[in-house]
Amino acid sequence: MYIHRVAVLCVPPSEDLAARRAGLARGAESMPRRLGRFGLLTLLGADACVGSDPLSPRCGVYLATESGNASDTEAVLGQVVAENSLPKPVNFIHTLSNTAAFYVAQRFGLQGPNHTVSSRALSFERVLALAASDLATRRAPQALIGAVDEASRTDNPLAREASCWLLASERPDGALGRIEARSEGWSAAQALEQLPASATKASMVALGPLVAQDETHWWRERLPGACLSSDLTAAGVCDASVAIAIGRLLLGALGVVCMLHVSRDTLGRYVLLLVRRL
């Protein structure tokens, strides 16, 4: 899968998005009514990724999220449980997990598949696989793939919110980079074995937030020529940290061309992604 455009939006939860919202509204015929923070983050990231490039109307939208629209969900819970009243319709609509991805499709007139998926700690890896499947089966000629999450702890100074997007297709011409390989296993060794030998020549190994600190040595031994990076150190506490790492690599912000990203979920399952900047 080739990546043609990238956007990485990563902000502290305290950042006021009003100015960014105004910029977004200037470029659109209309804006969704009372868009909450999750929806706004989604549109800001997707808009930055697409830019002024025309997309195929059959382009698919693939949104990965760990927690969905947490702030509107909290608002509805407050209205329904604490106040024992009807929820406000606009809050309720925004709690539907796929509303944000719909607004992306609406903004760019995209009639292809429109997915919102979650898979604890592996959401972005799963949505990449889903998009690759849809590209391969010709369900969509292009895939706009995003990871969006609000901060789960606003009192943590390291907490970050992110909306990171990739525009992918199977066409290599003009691509910024490529997802070269993907593997999955119940140990790091098992997952690494399934990757092509070129994976051991990656110039960087990025370790996801649930990869234990004491695994650093293991990875250093397996890929002695690679520098090691931690998503937590690089991106702060952020559920979309995998997408941030991939986005930054493809934007040339990491100073390397090939990265092996290592994610682990709470059950101990590993998913590895080999990503190359072209």
Binding site: S67, G68, V80, L86, Q111, P113, N114, S118, S119, S152
Partner: protein, 384 residues
């Protein structure tokens, strides 16, 4: 054309029960299991019919919800006769609209009763249910949750079929689950979408949606089922209608193009369809757009049309797997269920649904599912 994918096992727990034979009998008889649900709010009383599992006031917490999902999934796996090794390697796809909201509500409600200050446990993780189920089933294959509102489990089913067709999975367990949640029920009420009487799609007397709860599971794979009736998924289509976040365009053009795409993928003409299961929520806008879409594809040669939401309620994210389960089980019993409770044709729609069971001896079924967020899905199923 992609290779056909076989339905190997199926199970459902819904307002009609959990025994597929008994559910079939009730569907033939047009049973509408409506429970009058009353919620006392500070602004007054909300009283609406609801299709509840077990015909009791619905109340879910984390253990009871997981038990519902686990027992339904286990029945589907037993029906498919997967051995332990196959089950351990299967892919698990779960579709839901309400995610873990019912258990969050339960915690919030308990905190309120005890006077504690409730703070939502963030992140509440959308993918939690699929992960828990994988753990309970000892499944070590990939697990993922689709949250595309009312098309969630239908979308999961289509993706599962793609994974098998491309050789990425041997077996996929697709689960749809939608328990009652106060937030969702009152959310639909706040939008003015709920019926005061019954779900009556395509009916001039329609007055809205009746929500329901269900958990259903389908096991799909590349090899034929050992049962007498071998149901195959011939093709699936996915699309997005960008008209409005809450409804399809009234002209039905995106619905028509989704149906045309699924026919194209299966390399079948419209005339090959023996019967149609519409989405049929019972709302005016849904009827208008869906009827317009069907007219564009089928014109004057409309196959037999039915809908299952009068029987199950609108089970939102679970309606894909639930309605495929009920539809194929009824067909196995030799009939396509009539549109229960139908009274008066709507002359504006130009579609006359089944009012009596349609004898079934095999054929191709079209099943459509649409939802909030512009989701459009269509499936072609065949037992011929």
């Amino acid at each position: 054309m992609a290779p056909a994918i076989h339905i190997l096992g199926r199970a459902i727990t819904c307002a009609l029960g959990d025994d597929l034979h008994q559910i079939g009998v009730k569907a033939r008889n047009g049973c509408m299991p409506l429970l009058p649900l009353t919620l006392e709010l500070t602004c007054g009383r909300v009283r609406r019919p609801f299709c509840a599992i077990g015909q009791r006031q619905p109340q879910w917490d984390a253990p009871s919800l997981m038990q519902l999902i686990l027992s339904t999934a286990q029945r589907a796996l037993a029906d498919a006769a997967l051995d332990r090794a196959q089950a351990a390697h299967m892919t698990l796809l779960l579709g839901t609209g309400s995610l873990t909201i019912p258990e969050i509500e339960s915690e919030a409600h308990r905190a309120q009763l005890t006077g504690e200050r409730y703070c939502m446990r963030r992140p509440y993780a959308c993918g939690l249910l699929a992960e828990r189920l994988a753990l309970d089933l000892n499944s070590r294959g990939p697990a993922m949750t689709f949250t595309t509102a009312c098309t969630a489990s239908a979308t999961a089913l289509i993706h599962g079929a793609d994974l098998i067709a491309s050789g990425q999975a041997e077996h996929v367990l697709v689960v749809g689950v939608e328990p009652f949640s106060r937030s969702v029920f009152l959310g639909f009420e706040s939008l003015g979408l709920l019926s005061a009487t019954a779900c009556r799609p395509l009916d001039a007397q329609r007055d809205g949606i009746v929500l329901g709860e269900a958990c259903s599971a389908l096991v799909i794979g590349a090899r034929p089922a050992t049962r007498k009736n071998d149901w195959r998924i011939l093709a699936g289509a996915l699309g997005c209608d960008t008209t409005s976040v809450t409804s399809n365009g009234a002209d039905g053009s995106r619905i028509a193009s989704t149906i045309q795409e699924v026919l194209q993928r299966a390399e079948l003409p419209a005339s090959a369809i023996s019967a149609i299961k519409i989405h049929g929520t019972g709302s005016g806008p849904n009827d208008e757009s869906e009827a317009a879409g069907l007219r564009q594809v089928f014109g004057a040669r409309m196959p037999a049309v039915t809908g299952l939401k009068p029987l199950l309620g609108h089970t939102l994210g679970a309606c894909g797997t639930s309605e495929v389960t009920l539809l194929t089980a009824a067909a196995d019993a030799g009939f396509i269920p009539p549109l229960a409770g139908f009274r008066q044709p709507d002359p504006q729609l130009g579609i006359a649904p089944l009012t009596q069971p349609l004898p079934w001896s095999g054929g191709v079924l079209l099943a459509s599912f649409f939802g909030f967020g512009g989701s459009c899905t269509a499936l072609l199923l065949s037992d011929r």
